[in-house]
């Protein structure tokens, strides 16, 4: 065996940080988010606001199966927005800030792998999203009499897949944006572009056919429509699942290749 220094063989066993370390990192990132009060407004307060603005009208319009327009259109849209906002705008700007201040560079010279930092960020973001979705759901149920999705399991599944897709898009933003400011700018442009094509500003009827079809496949539109279907208890269309799934794979791959520590 080749030895380098007394007691340090060149074949030192590869030791990667274990589950305890992952836990510590996750808790650390959670504390960072919890102590950044302003950062909590977007995922928690914004969706509630959107809900309040739309709920009273939509709550009275029955659609089908005892579900109102609030259940079938507003809630899916609000949930999708929460996920997209935290995934595409918030998370990348946090990471870009870490990069600019040298935190990522500092971590890069420890045994913490890039994957650890990214996964911790996503996990924390997902928790934020969950809190935002839960708060909006509670408000919708208690104040506006919203009904749960007819197929709750499918709704949850779609929400999870949506989260993965939005965070994958966010990871691409984090990987490619040169500065924290540009991360926010790129994130917002993407958020509004995907949102506009996906029906965030009203139906897609006004869009040219090509754009409307594209919007339906892109993650925002696919998520909102798929959620809508679960509220009605209809089966989710494969096109939506394929759209979301391929976003996860493609964007996840691009982010993994281009992610930089500094």
């Amino acid at each position: 065996m080749k030895r380098v220094l007394d007691g340090v063989p060149a074949t030192t066993a590869v030791h990667r940080p274990g589950p305890r370390s992952w836990g510590v990192l996750l808790v650390s990132e959670l504390k960072m988010v919890a102590r950044d009060t302003a950062g909590l407004i977007v995922p928690v307060v914004l969706p509630m606001l959107i809900l309040v603005m739309n709920a009273s009208g939509a709550g009275g319009q029955a659609v089908a199966g005892g579900r109102t327009a609030l259940d079938v259109y507003v809630l899916p849209l609000v949930f999708t927005m929460v996920v997209a906002m935290t995934g595409i705008v918030n998370m990348p700007s946090f990471l870009a800030y870490y990069r600019r201040t040298g935190i990522l560079r500092r971590l890069a010279v420890t045994p913490a792998s890039p994957a650890m930092v990214l996964v911790a960020q996503v996990a924390v973001g997902v928790l934020q999203t969950a809190v935002g979705v839960a708060a909006a759901w509670l408000l919708a149920t208690l104040a506006f009499g919203a009904r749960p999705p007819a197929d709750a399991g499918a709704a949850l599944g779609v929400l999870v897949l949506t989260t993965a897709a939005m965070y994958a898009v966010g990871m691409v933003v984090a990987a490619l944006a040169p500065t924290p400011n540009s991360a926010v700018a790129i994130g917002l442009v993407l958020f509004f572009a995907l949102g506009a094509l996906g029906g965030m500003f009203g139906g897609q009827d006004g869009l040219p056919d090509v754009l409307a079809t594209a919007g339906e496949w892109l993650p925002f539109g696919a998520a909102a429509e798929a959620l809508s279907l679960t509220w009605l208890g209809h089966p989710v269309e494969p096109a939506h699942l394929i759209g979301l799934g391929s976003t996860v794979l493609a964007c996840g791959g691009v982010a993994a290749v281009f992610f930089r520590w500094e």
């Binding site: 065996m1 030895r3 380098v4 950044d36 935190i103 560079r105 500092r106 010279v109 420890t110």
Partner: protein
């Protein structure tokens, strides 16, 4: 396979690194034996930080090779990170986390880390355990960053601008920390602007200028390259007659600096100069003798003084 024992902790051979049109590192070679405190000294832009980044595996050299403890810092980084501690210049930490939270986070990455309390006490931060990083003073942030570099019981430590921003007491404390590291056989690569620190701590120093090593020697060896051993400064009430001092064997050079006459030379320089002045009837006041320093060596070797004020790449 035969057991080949190498005692080199860091080996760099012909490193080149270019950023756009700027050549940051231009053929740097170093070898640092295990247990040595090795200094990298140079002006801003001399290539110190880039060299350190290549050694730490934060970048890949365009040409040349680096080995740290026999490992390639880029290819074997997973293995090396357990053995290497790095304090980076200007790197921030999670702003909203406290001292103890950050120490716990960083030590969790290593296989056999030092104890949390021991680390915090070793840099004198016991009183600030529960203070957030962004509420610490610059010196405290610096000390924390050093504690984190030592968290994993590294065999090799890279410290970039160790005592920049520290008050004199904290600086002395860091120096004694470093000396105890040396006693435990840890190899230290110290990037510095502070001549005093380098002269006091380093076994050997590489002097960098424009991406190249212009000299590599012990601090005392470098000082000898200043070209003179000592310097006498004084103010003269009337002009010193031309050639009076230059004629002396002990004198290498005479120049004026502001209102002062500066005589560089060797041997019993002060005695020789004083006698010559008295004989010529020149009254000298404010006479001082200075030993040649690394500053003088730097000036002699690169033709320009070392800029101590700011730190930079």
């Amino acid at each position: 396979m035969p057991e080949t024992v190498s005692s080199l902790a860091v080996e760099a051979d012909g490193l080149h690194k270019r950023y756009g049109a700027t050549i940051a590192v231009d053929g740097i070679s170093l070898s640092v034996p295990a247990g040595e405190i090795f200094g990298l000294l140079g002006r801003n832009g001399a290539g110190k930080t880039t060299t350190v980044e290549l050694i730490a595996g934060l970048g890949r050299p365009d040409r040349g090779t680096v080995r740290v403890l026999g490992l390639d810092p880029w290819r074997d980084r997973v293995r090396l990170r357990q053995l290497l501690g790095v304090q980076l210049q200007d790197a921030q930490l999670h702003a909203a986390l406290t001292v103890v939270e950050l120490v716990r986070l960083y030590r969790s990455f290593y296989r056999s880390p030092r104890e949390t309390d021991e680390l915090i006490e070793s840099v004198g931060l016991a009183g600030s355990r529960h203070v957030r990083f962004d509420k610490l003073s610059g010196g405290e942030q610096q000390r924390l960053s050093i504690a984190l570099a030592l968290a994993g019981r590294p065999r090799v430590v890279i410290l970039d601008e160790l005592t920049t921003g520290l008050d004199p007491e904290a600086r002395r404390q860091m120096w004694s920390t470093l000396e105890s590291l040396r006693e435990s056989g840890v190899t230290v690569l110290l990037v510095s602007h502070a001549m005093e620190e380098v002269e006091r701590l380093c076994d050997r120093v590489a002097l960098l200028d424009a991406g190249k090593v212009v000299a590599l020697d012990s601090p005392a060896g470098l000082v000898r390259r200043a070209g003179f051993a000592q310097r006498v400064r004084f103010r003269a009430a009337e002009p010193v007659p031309g050639g009076l001092l230059e004629r002396l064997d002990e004198v290498d050079r005479v120049r004026s600096d502001g209102g002062e006459v500066v005589v560089e030379g060797h041997g019993d320089l002060l005695q020789a100069v004083s006698v010559a002045l008295v004989r010529a009837g020149v009254v000298a006041t404010g006479t001082r003798v200075e030993r040649a320093t690394l500053d003088d060596a730097f000036l002699a070797l690169t033709g320009r003084p070392l800029d101590r004020e700011e730190a930079g790449r």
